[in-house]
């Protein structure tokens, strides 16, 4: 057995034992099901949601599309603004105090306002998600652009590079790794914003289902949804890391 395989086996054994004890505790009512649910109950809930009643798909769709739209919207706007700051430093000076105040505000506290403006549907969730992802990507874009090596600029200027050549051949590529780590974080925070909004008030979405299951004391539902959200988060991070590795081979 290779070392890697042994590690997997150890993890599998640990998880199996953990779930086994949990199930045993639930059946003997040592662990009250009202608070902890049970592994079998969780599996049954997810199985019903995905394969029998298939109700969960619609909510999953709402959450995932809300997340992606917030991410793309926030990231695009932030990168555009961050790069505009390079070309127009005065714009940055003028906007900086306002951006700082907005960024300092706990965005989730704006949720009631967004709900009022954009309604119970996906619009308000996108607003929350976007407000979170935007500032992360903006901060990283600005930091990335600032981190450009002065030597690279000096060399390029001595060669007679135009401002646009310097921007596209030096500043932008040197900022990409920092922007990318912002994007990875922004995707997670878009999801956080959307689910947070759904928990507060929504018609659809995993967050809405989660808060409904909790209100009706269905712990199997709550636990199942939490597991699903954890998987979703992991999938998102993994995907971004893979994309990053493919695009930034030079690092």
């Amino acid at each position: 057995m290779t070392a890697g395989l042994r590690v997997y086996a150890a993890h599998a054994a640990f998880i199996a034992t953990f779930l086994g004890l949990w199930e045993y505790g639930a059946r003997t009512e040592f662990l009250p099901q009202l608070f902890f649910g049970s592994p079998a109950g969780i599996v049954a809930y997810l199985w019903d949601g995905f394969a029998v009643s298939k109700k969960i798909w619609l909510d999953l769709g709402y959450t995932v599309s809300g997340t992606l739209i917030s991410f793309v919207l926030g990231a695009t706007l932030a990168m555009a603004l961050g790069l505009a700051f390079v070309i127009l430093p005065k714009l940055e000076q003028a906007m900086d105090p306002y951006l700082m105040v907005l960024n300092a505000m706990p965005r989730i506290a704006l949720a009631p306002l967004f709900l009022l403006w954009f309604g119970l549907g996906i619009g308000s969730k996108i607003a929350i998600g976007t407000s979170l992802s935007f500032f992360i990507v903006l901060a990283n874009t600005v930091a990335g652009v600032r981190g450009v090596s002065p030597d690279h600029i000096t060399l390029s200027r001595s060669l007679g590079a135009s401002p646009s050549q310097i921007f596209f051949k030096v500043t932008l590529p040197s900022a990409v790794p920092v922007i990318f780590s912002g994007l990875r974080l922004a995707l997670i925070f878009s999801m956080l914003g959307v689910i947070g909004g759904e928990i507060i008030a929504a018609e659809h979405g995993l967050g809405q289902v989660l808060s409904y299951q909790q209100a009706t004391f269905n712990m199997n539902g709550v636990m199942g949804l939490l597991a699903l959200l954890a998987c979703l988060g992991m999938l998102v991070t993994r995907g971004m890391s893979r994309l990053e590795r493919a695009l930034l081979k030079w690092q």
Partner: protein, 257 residues
Amino acid sequence: MAAIEIERLTVRFGDVLAVDDVSIQIEEGEFVSIVGPSGCGKTTLLNLLTGLLPLESGGISILGKRPFAGNPEVAYMLARDSLLPWRSTLANASYGLEIRGVAKELREAKARQLLARVGLADFERHWPKQLSHGMRQRAALARTFCLDSPVMLMDEPFGALDAQTKLQLEDLLLELWNAERRTVVFITHDLGEAVALSDRVIVMSARPGRIVKQMPIDLPRPRSVRALQKSHEFHDIYSDLWEALEAGMKGAPAMIE
């Protein structure tokens, strides 16, 4: 006509007098080193020659023209290799030509030639992070020589290398230079390096930078920097200049004759 003429150059940064009344003439094809303590204005001098800093007091002419950024007759090599980490060795070596608008096929062919001459023929697809310090500096040499500029300005290009690698690169530089004998202004704080490479060594004092001594180096060419390490003549010149350099460290005002 001299290739480079610097006349009564004085540079101030605010209240700080960085370079004080410096005049230098450099002939076409001459290899001149400027040695001086850190902060004496060596980099500033090169930044003026490349037109990156505006000239405020004194005159500079390079092949009869005033300095300007993007002058195709001037190639600048910085202290650190300053390779672009997201470009392959080949794309780095051809970067200067790319900025100067040379077509892709031409510039890559030229860069391949230079990479072969610096011993990096097998590394054209490598990323800079995959190269050793010495190899990175070789790539930077290839990028500089790729430009075919008649005047080359080098700012302590081997300052960060270990002694062995440095000797190798100094010999490589001499080999590249010997083929075409372009005009070189070579900045260093290593006096041995300056003597071994140059036709003439100029010693500058601590800030404000003034010329303390100039000395022609009449060692025969072609030279081998390694072989020179054992030559008496080399060591005699070295100790002569060392005295001037030491006097200049204390900021000696007058020229030593």
